[in-house]
């Protein structure tokens, strides 16, 4: 487990060092910055400045015991023994960046380092592709709510910032066909995702996901994304001493105009205001940013080719600040020598 834990141990390695991550840089002083004045033509003052908060986000190092404890709590949702993860993980072969183990008769558990994602699934359920039953969205939602409540009761997730009122429902579909004929699809799993929310702003890539198979059984449970350091005042989450508050000085329209100017040949999808600690980073003092998904396009061999997308985030405090971009291009990459 030593090598695995080492992967987590770089907390603060990127603190205040991420190029272009203004939120993290601003956090270095631990002092609330004054609203910034800028001569940049990109700057636009919002009509009524909104108070925003920067929070400390981490993807913490986990000891083997902590991994087993968390995966065990999730596995109970699927009927795995509470202590099943401990024995299974101690015997599991550890991979760089992830660990995988069978913790029950058909329950598989995983932890993936990149986004600190814990996931359990019941293979007997996820691999049911023949069941004719479809309980429908309503009963699936009831199963989700019950499972979500169980996660909170077992301490697998904290209730703060997770509201089932903001659940998003998507689907895993299955399809089949014979050659030359059109595929026919149907729902396999109802996917319920509850995003982690802070001060009304989602933490990108953080939350809880619970999949209910069309046969009515729980299929998968996942808890993922950075952990938020916050203090509670009533039900209101506020930053710890590491964070700060500030007045938002860059509105969405300003960021929209900037991203269009900087990516003129791309398909741009506005994701909205988000707290965002890019995957792979382990720590940051993070303020809300205007987040976009950028997909450059080009015509090659007469084909309209879509480049792999990247996320680009612009500061809400400084309209001229360099954006945060992930993933980062690496045109210098090399591989094996070709004979």
């Amino acid at each position: 487990m030593k090598n695995y834990s080492t992967q987590f141990s770089a907390i603060a390695a990127v603190f205040c060092a991420s190029v272009g991550c203004t939120a993290i840089l601003a956090g270095c002083s631990a002092t609330p910055p004054e609203p910034q004045e800028s001569n940049s033509s990109l700057t636009a003052a919002v009509a009524a400045p909104v108070t925003r908060y920067a929070f400390e986000l981490t993807r913490p190092s986990h000891s083997p015991s902590e991994l087993a404890d968390q995966l065990g709590k999730l596995g109970v949702s699927l009927g795995a023994p509470a202590d099943g993860a401990r024995a299974a993980l101690s015997a599991a072969k550890l991979d760089l960046g992830s660990v995988h183990a069978a913790i029950g008769q058909s329950v598989k558990a995983s932890h993936v380092l990149g986004n600190d994602a814990f996931l359990v699934l019941d293979e007997a359920v996820t691999r049911d592709t023949t069941s004719a039953t479809d309980v429908g969205a309503g009963p699936a939602s009831a199963t989700f709510l019950s499972a979500f409540k169980g996660l909170i009761e077992r301490g697998a997730v904290q209730a703060s910032g997770l509201s089932t009122a903001s659940v998003r429902v998507t689907h895993v579909l299955q399809g089949e066909a014979e050659s030359g004929k059109a595929p026919v699809e149907r729902i396999k799993e109802y996917v319920h995702t509850v995003p982690r929310v802070l001060q009304g702003v989602e933490v990108f890539g953080a939350g809880v996901q619970i999949n209910v198979h069309r046969n009515g059984q729980l299929a998968r449970v996942a808890v993922f994304g950075p952990t938020v350091s916050a203090k509670l005042e009533g039900s209101n989450e506020l930053p710890t001493a590491a964070g700060f508050s500030f007045k938002q000085t860059v509105d969405a329209a300003t960021a929209d105009a900037r991203v269009k100017a900087e990516y003129p040949k791309a398909v741009i999808k506005s994701i909205g205001l988000r707290y965002w600690l890019p995957e792979g980073e382990t720590h940051g003092i993070v303020a809300p940013q205007h987040l976009y998904l950028i997909t450059p396009t080009a015509v090659i061999d007469g084909q309209v080719v879509k480049a792999r997308a990247s996320y680009v985030a612009y500061s809400t405090q400084d309209a001229a600040a360099a954006p945060t971009v992930w993933p980062r291009a690496n045109p210098q990459a090399s591989g094996d020598s070709r004979p």
């Binding site: 991979d95 760089l96 960046g97 992830s98 995988h100 598989k108 995983s110 993936v112 990149g114 986004n115 699934l121 293979e123 996820t126 691999r127 592709t129 023949t130 998507t170 689907h171 895993v172 579909l173 299955q174 399809g175 089949e176 066909a177 014979e178 050659s179 030359g180 004929k181 059109a182 595929p183 699809e185 998968r220 996942a222 993922f224 792979g280 998904l293 997909t295 450059p296 080009a298 090659i300 061999d301 084909q303 309209v304 080719v305 879509k306 480049a307 792999r308 997308a309 993933p327 980062r328 291009a329 690496n330 045109p331 210098q332 990459a333 090399s334 591989g335 094996d336 020598s337 070709r338």
Partner: protein, 264 residues
């Protein structure tokens, strides 16, 4: 969907699967072939530069005793995936020596429906049209069994029974525009030590609104779902080539496909 497909899939068992797989396909070695493009500017196939995503995959493959090659940027040729048995598929095809020589066949770069785009032209070509250029798993080479297409929109469910057909046991990709983290292909591969390829692909590659899709192909309807629901790359379960493909220049034999994807 044909009626017999529906009836037969319900009746399938693991015994049927084992028997049919034995009859129609061959166990594959733990081998791979990877081409990756990250430099897409200034070389003649202009798109945009992108991150490296198969370096750590190759490391994990090697650690699991898989053998193969990974060519990057100027060393990655579109013709590596072009069928080499005939110029009908384009002149200069090399799949018999490259893209159709490893059980796991991977391309990382950019793409569109049934098309993958390379960063450097080779013999004035920038890409592979799976419909017109490639017959992976058949004809020359005929060793590929799992196609992993790490690019946008390559695998479309509506094309699985037409333009995206190869002679592969499984193909995995996305139906929409996506970003991919540096280590996600590695994390997918490692997850298949315990999970099925289908579960591992859906779990790892569906986050953030990505419409990840994984499809399984079979010679009979009875084989498809059992194979889809059991194959595990790293655990070396169901790593069998599809077999039974056409000879050079031949058309597609009758086949079946089953798949799943996350609507994102």
């Amino acid at each position: 969907m044909s009626g017999d497909f529906t009836a037969l899939r319900v009746a399938t068992t693991a015994v049927v699967l084992a028997a049919t797989l034995h009859a129609s396909s061959a166990a594959a070695a733990k081998t791979y072939f990877i081409d990756e493009g990250t430099d897409f500017t200034g070389n003649g196939c202009e798109i945009t530069d992108v991150n490296t995503i198969t370096a750590s995959l190759q490391t994990s493959l090697s650690a699991a005793s898989w053998t193969g090659s990974r060519y990057v940027n100027a060393s990655a040729y579109p013709q590596d995936f072009w069928e080499s048995c005939s110029s009908v598929y384009g002149s200069g095809g090399l799949d018999g020596s490259y893209g159709d020589t490893g059980f796991l066949s991977v391309y990382a770069g950019h793409g569109s429906a049934h098309y993958i785009a390379f960063g450097y032209p080779h013999s004035s070509q920038c890409g592979v049209d799976f419909s017109t250029n490639a017959r992976l798993g058949a004809m020359n080479g005929a060793s590929a069994g799992f196609g992993m297409w790490l690019a946008c929109e390559v695998v479309q469910s509506s094309q699985l029974t037409s333009a995206m057909y190869q002679r592969l046991s499984q193909q995995a990709g996305w139906q929409n525009s996506i970003g991919i983290g540096d280590d996600e292909p590695r994390d997918f591969f490692n997850a298949t030590s315990t999970k099925t390829n289908a579960d591992a692909w859906i779990d790892q590659m569906s986050t953030g609104g990505r419409d990840a899709i994984i499809a399984t192909f079979s010679n009979t309807s009875a084989e498809c779902w059992p194979k889809h629901n059991s194959a595990k790359l790293k655990a070396n379960v169901g790593n069998t080539t599809l077999g039974g493909g056409a000879s050079c220049g031949g058309g597609q034999p009758r086949y079946y496909v089953c798949y799943e994807h996350h609507t994102g």
